[in-house]
Amino acid sequence: MARKLDAKIPSGPLAEKWETHRFEMKLVNPANKRKFSVIVVGSGLAGASAAASLSELGYQVSCFCFQDTPRRAHSIAAQGGINAAKNYRNDGDSVQRLFYDTIKGGDFRAREANVYRLAQVSVDIIDQCVAQGVPFAREYGGLLANRSFGGAQVSRTFYARGQTGQQLLLGAYQALEKEIARGGVTMYSRHEMLELVVVDGKARGIIVRDMLTGELESHAADAVILATGGYGNVFYLSTNAKGCNVTATWRAHKKGAAFANPCFTQIHPTCIPVAGDHQSKLTLMSESLRNDGRVWVPRRREDCGKDPSQIPEADRDYYLERKYPSFGNLSPRDIASRAAKEACDDGRGVGPGGRGVYLDFADAINRLGRKAIEERYGNLFEMYQRITDEDPYTRPMRIYPAVHYTMGGLWVDYNLMSSIPGLHVLGEANFSDHGANRLGASALMQGLADGYFVIPYTLGDYLATNKLEKVTTDHPEFRAAKEAVETRTKRLLSINGTRTVDSFHRELGKIMWEKCGMARDAKGLQEALKEIPALREQFWRDVKVLGSAEGLNQSLEKAGRVADFLEFAELMCLDALQREESCGGHFRTEYQTEDGEAKRDDERFAYVAAWEYAGEGKAPILNKEPLTFENVHLSTRSYK
């Protein structure tokens, strides 16, 4: 039976919803806040900002991360920047324009109200970060610098060299450490969440494994916040850190949290191509490079093997400039990725295996001088050279699309609460703001918006309006959850088969990349839906996990995560199969226009697909939250 999911979008005009809602929400008296305990899982931009902000308000916060310190969360790797509707450039930006660009960029598959709020609070984020000492790039006059990013015609991206994510995360991390020192936050590093505990229908705690001792710990609280990032590593090769995983959100899903739009994944157009079978991850080259780099492939297939300097202008195809003259090299990610794939499928790719296109800086170097390019992208150019042993100042970079971000995630309402009361989900882990495609420099914005400026209000309202009985970790639900984890761990260690965890993960990744990657069709998805359960069955029969449950065991950690990916992957394919349209990053080859662009079907698919777990071996239930657009006109997304 499908459930109706209430998004709890406040009434009133779009521009006033958040303001009205903030007034209408209940507050927790300052003296009472310390009586409430909150668990935050994850310490990236969303988790660290939420934990620090909630602690500053007076709540008792426990924060968990699997890394050795909260400063290593993968937000740290974001390079290019963070959007905000400051209009410091006087170039026509506004909250309304950032809202519109984001809704359109997401191919009209996100909620208007959430996205508008995101655009509104974007301006506060920059103010907050500057106050914390985030060293954003500045002009000689001392004011903040901006640059442009894909999918926008204004310059609204703030940045700190090519390390914007690092600097924003360190700002949030330092605020978190300040609160740890003050005693407001108890930090649990090298702890991995393995179960959510639901008591009387409400999220009341988690089971974590202390990764150093192997001990399973139960933690109870009045509310639980998941800020555990995305699931891009289901593809094995992605730009995500090796540790990124779906386990926390998948465990929550199996306890009743709806999983929304899992098939919406972002393939980033500018990554360093795969070099060989040993490849363990893919490295992103920031989208900001497309401000000055021109993307091309040879016009003729027979030129692909030539040195690029030997291919004259007339024989090059600057395909983005040709196909999308008004956005050109700054076309949005999904479009640029697909165009690269088409060029390579057409036999005009360059480099090993023909899976690469050129990103060429020669024009920019001629126009602006090498020094200017060094200043803008020096660290990225160095990174490229270290990995490929090629000098991008004298030879165009080779790039190819790679899995980068996941727009899907746990379903949340306007208050960022999942379908389990008390379980809130922030940042990449939720589905809410980016629709079917995220624009560049919007992930950092969303993570910090959720953590600094949304959850501090909406969590207070939840705590103030719900009667929460005292729950301790002696409760049978805690014991049952802990036993479930113990059983699972024992099982993984006792199989002692013949294949390593990584070999299963690589095989799963290959299925997903080929059948649920940049282009999908019903036939491939149906095949994947047979192959995945077979691989999963083999995993539980033949995986080899050495060592014991006590103490540090990295193979065991990986095995648990891959086991969850093997379940989750099936849901992703199911979701991709039911969405019989192309939108944003979800490109079904059966649904395209004559010139190969995505063909959306608003009549049938203007909804959020929120999947509900129905139990082991049962087909998940599809709940649909209709998307209504009252403020924007549903147009065909065109960047031509």
Binding site: R72, A77, K86, Q128, G142, E177
Partner: protein, 267 residues
């Protein structure tokens, strides 16, 4: 680029790896042959390959910290042939590629060695001391809210750039591992200089220098005797100038006796 290009077939290397079962176990160097290593592999991908082969043989894989594998998270940290992060300057172990080695090479791989970074297992160490140094004062107290507009306070570009140069620290611990005294001065000084270069960092500047230096000492790191090894090993190129800045800030704060007393009373 210090690359010696191996061409054609993979290289055969001999690894000498520190294996230690747990924090209190005795450790030792164990030798592993590593045939068929591609020069295009990263150093950690080479370890992945070795680990896959170990698991196949029923031997426990070598534990090492890693995450982003793009040189920014600061998780990885290995002494490679006696150098923190290996032979290539400005490069973390995860971005070091095997083309920096040649066929037949012996490679010694050890964890960071420092009293304040106890070994947890094999190549994994506990760097929690760094977090506690930040807790002591490595922040600007700006609770979440609505501060003034970001452009209300212009900051000279040179100051912002100096702040960014020092904020680039990834907290990997190479500076400590490279230092003959196992000093954390470069790490601590980078944060002091980052925040102290900005107008927002001024109100807490004295307290920050005193508290962070005190915590650094308490954690058991050695003192700085200006060998400069930290600067050489730092994958982010942070300059030892930061240590001069830290020393100046520390002396100035100590000399402001009344203020210093007031702050330590409040801490």
């Amino acid at each position: 680029m210090s690359a010696t290009h191996a061409t054609g077939k993979g290289m055969t290397l001999t690894l000498h790896v520190w294996r230690q079962a747990g924090p209190n176990a005795a450790g030792r160097i164990v030798d592993y042959p590593a045939p068929d290593i591609s020069p295009d592999m990263s150093f950690l991908e080479m370890l992945d390959v070795v680990n896959e082969r170990l698991i196949a043989k029923g031997e426990e894989p070598i534990a090492f910290d890693h995450d982003c594998r793009e040189g920014i998270c600061g998780s990885c940290g290995l002494m490679i042939n006696g150098s923190a992060h290996g032979p290539m300057k400005l490069t973390t172990a995860c971005q070091l590629h095997m083309r920096s080695f040649k066929d037949g090479d012996d490679i010694w791989i050890e964890p960071w060695r420092a009293k304040a970074f106890p070994v947890i297992k094999d190549l994994v160490v506990d760097r929690g001391a760094f977090d506690r140094i930040i807790q002591a004062g490595g922040y600007i107290s700006a609770p979440t809210g609505t501060p003034q507009d970001a452009n209300a306070l212009p900051i000279p570009k040179a100051d912002a750039d100096l702040a960014m140069d020092n904020a680039a620290c990834i907290g990997c611990g190479a500076c400590v591992a490279a230092c003959p005294n196992a000093s954390a001065s470069l790490f601590t000084a980078a944060k002091i200089t980052h925040l102290g270069s900005l107008p927002q960092g001024q109100p807490e500047r004295d307290r920050r220098a005193l508290a962070m230096v005190a915590q650094m000492d308490e954690e058991g790191f050695g003192g700085c005797t200006l060998h400069g090894e930290c600067q050489e090993a730092c994958p982010k190129g942070i300059s030892i100038d930061a240590i001069m800045q830290m020393n100046r800030d520390f002396v100035r704060a100590s000399a402001t006796a009344v203020q210093a007393k007031e702050w330590s009373g409040a801490a």
